[in-house]
């Protein structure tokens, strides 16, 4: 860190000092990790180049296994993207004050992961050169078109929803002059934090946080519908829309928790991501592990009870057949581990939530695997049930590149954006403490309200 920057930083408030430090100071381990991630990503780019050059034959896909790793990753990453925006929007709308320090890092996951999800169906395409056909010859009865519309809208609204609440922080960086003055002058877009601007800002945030909720719900519903709209065994199910939304939020919370534990450690944010945050988010994770079990149980029981031969082939392939290992690992990761860890206060710690978060993410990836593959290799027409699927090096490399590319982008973003909202912390200190006291008083009978007013 240069001397001038250090002096500027020293003159700022404690919040600003802690939260802006990562923007101007980069550790050696950061560079090492970033290099490894960049190398993995480049390897994936090479794998994709080979695939484009020689054809999708380089994957392990076949007939009847038409969809594989790419579509699994598509559903998984778009699922993760429900982390931020949806949760931060719900917490904002419900005036949950503990949200203040976690919204930014969550929203950032959403915006950065959505590219990596949205690019998967393009990687999966046999003719990526004809991508524009989806606009030139769009057929709106195709669930894939619903997806393009829904994800496009989601991407746009999430980016705005990340950017608008960031304006005051960008203005702080611009005024402090600690980094790239021109860039931040441009990004801050003339925001001066006047009372008028602040009032407008809060109104816009209020409207946005309501708008993004139905859009986010639509995104994963439509992704579930891609499968549900076909007549295939264990895909053609009305539960898929809500099941996918619930799963998306679940994996999203897990991603936030993992990111928070890493950020807390890497940037020394113990004062911002406090134990109470892990406790609260841990409870939310617990709720979703129970919801996950409820939805999954309902789905499988319905298929089992009906006993239709086509459905039963996919059903038993998962429970006891060739997919028993991914199936029961999924149950372990999505239900047993998070339930065990999150139902006790003593394990709703950063360490406990980190383990549960990783387990849930692995479990949710496997859930998508268990949806896509067993049905694909067990088509309705029994005579054709000869499918096998072994992903090739190209598919696995691209998957590795997707994970590392996302993490790399997130790491780079922490060097340009304060990962905790500075102005919202300040607002919390200056206004919310009083507002919350007033609000609680308001919940009580009038006499108590009067007494509380007298006390003050």
């Amino acid at each position: 860190m240069r001397q001038g920057v250090r002096e500027k930083l020293a003159r700022m408030s404690t919040d600003e000092q802690v939260l802006l430090r990562p923007l101007v100071e980069t550790s050696r381990s950061f560079y090492i990790v970033a290099t490894l991630l960049a190398a993995t990503t480049l390897w994936g780019v090479f794998a994709y180049y080979s695939q484009v050059r020689y054809g999708l034959g380089l994957t392990g896909l076949n007939r009847p296994e038409y969809w594989g790793i790419y579509i699994i990753c598509f559903v998984f990453f778009i699922g993760i993207s429900h982390a931020g925006t949806l949760i931060s929007a719900i917490l904002r709308v419900s005036k949950a004050e503990w949200r203040r320090s976690i919204t930014r890092s969550a929203e950032l996951i959403t915006v950065l992961v959505i590219y990596w999800g949205a690019v998967q169906p393009i990687i999966d395409m046999g003719r990526p050169d004809r991508l524009l056909n989806v606009f030139l010859h769009a057929q709106l009865s195709s669930p894939l078109m619903w997806d393009i519309i829904s994800i496009g809208l989601y991407f746009a609204s999430c980016t705005i929803y990340l950017y608008v609440p960031m304006l005051p922080d960008l203005a702080i960086i611009r005024d402090s002059g600690i980094k790239a003055p021109r860039l931040y002058r441009f990004l801050a877009a003339g925001y001066r934090d006047t009372p008028g601007q602040r009032a407008k800002l809060e109104r816009v945030i209020g409207v946005l946080s309501i708008i993004v909720i139905p859009i986010a719900v639509s995104v994963h519903t439509v992704i579930g519908w891609i499968f549900a709209m076909t007549l295939r065994p264990m895909w053609h199910s009305t539960i898929f829309g809500p099941y996918f939304v619930m799963g998306a939020i679940y994996s999203g919370i897990a991603a936030i928790l993992v990111a928070m534990v890493v950020l807390r450690r890497a940037f020394g944010l113990q004062q911002y991501f406090k134990l109470i945050h892990f406790d609260y988010l841990g409870r939310l994770l617990l709720l979703f592990s129970l919801l996950w079990f409820y939805f999954t149980f309902a789905e499988y029981l319905t298929a089992f009870y009906g006993g239709e031969p086509g459905e039963m082939r996919a059903f038993w392939a998962k429970l006891t057949g060739p997919f028993a290992v991914p199936f029961w690992t999924m149950v372990l990761g999505c239900f047993v581990i998070p339930l065990a860890l999150m139902s006790r206060r003593s394990t709703r710690t950063p360490r406990g939530t980190f383990i549960a978060g990783i387990a849930v993410m692995i479990g949710m990836w496997l859930e998508r695997f268990n949806i896509v593959v067993p049905t694909s290799v067990n088509p309705r027409w029994e005579i054709e049930s000869i499918g096998r699927y072994v992903p090739s090096w190209v598919e696995l490399s691209i998957m590795a590149a997707t994970f590392s590319g996302f993490i790399l982008l997130y790491m780079i973003a922490t060097k340009f954006i304060p990962i905790v909202s500075i102005w919202e912390m300040k607002e919390g200190r200056e206004q919310s403490v009083r507002e919350v006291a007033d609000r609680v008083a308001e919940y009580l009978p009038e006499s108590a309200l009067a007494a509380a007013a007298e006390d003050r």
């Binding site: 054809g55 034959g57 076949n62 046999g126 010859h137 057929q139 195709s142 891609i226 076909t230």
Partner: protein, 227 residues
């Protein structure tokens, strides 16, 4: 307007697979190397499926030639994001190879598994390459292809009929599989034209259609084997 369809008499089918070979030759279907075929990547618009019936030692092979069902309510069409698969006025379900983006959604939507994907660019042996059918376009890497009821034959038959200034007759148009079938198990024609054989055959009490309960309304009818 004609509504083209097919009736396949399973009692007559001997499983010789001449239909399969004729289809490959007629429609320039690429040859897939054995190890690729092993992975499930062979292309066969018309395919003779075999099923072993009964318990040992009283067993019998039952063969089902399976072309595209050319459903009147095809599940593959609605799901295509770019309208690359369509049903024409005469009920033939086709694929626009030049528009298909290769997402394979239609292949997943088809319960009969008749949509085939080109995992690599097409290849033929030297001898085959010399007699590719000029009436049928070859398909590039990365697109879906499927049975067309030899639609190019219909176009040609119609042109010939027009040149002779006469109506299209039943014998003017039939797909390659129906033409070569040595036992006459595959009958083709206009399902709505009472003078065509398929129109009366489809009223036979032995008639079944594959997975009719899905509401796809296939235009390929099978005549169940007699007991």
């Amino acid at each position: 307007m004609a509504r083209w369809g097919m009736v396949i008499d399973l009692d007559r089918c001997t499983g010789c697979a001449a239909c399969e070979v004729a289809c490959k030759s007629e429609n320039n279907i690429a040859t897939v190397p054995p190890e690729q075929a092993e992975m499930g990547r062979a292309i066969s618009w018309m395919r003779v499926m075999a099923e072993l019936e009964g318990d040992f030692p009283d067993t019998a092979m039952q063969f089902y030639p399976r072309p595209c069902m050319h459903c009147d309510n095809p599940p593959c069409i609605r799901v295509c994001p770019v309208q690359a698969t369509y049903i024409d006025d005469e009920g033939i379900v086709g694929q626009i190879y030049a528009r298909c983006i290769g997402c394979r959604y239609c292949a997943n939507a088809c319960p009969y598994m008749v949509k085939y994907f080109n995992w690599y660019g097409p290849e033929w042996s030297q001898s085959e390459r010399q007699h590719l059918n000029p009436d049928v376009s070859v398909r590039p890497s990365g697109v879906i292809e499927k049975c067309t009821f030899c639609h190019h034959r219909l176009q040609k038959a119609r042109e010939d009929a027009r040149a002779d200034e006469r109506e299209l007759r039943e014998e003017d148009y039939e797909p390659a599989c129906a033409e070569v079938c040595p036992t006459g198990a595959i009958v083709f024609g206009d399902l709505d034209n009472p003078s065509h054989r398929v129109a009366s055959l489809k009223e036979d009490p032995r008639v079944i259609r594959l997975m009719e309960d899905l509401g796809t309304q296939p235009k390929v009818y099978y005549l169940r084997p007699r007991e």
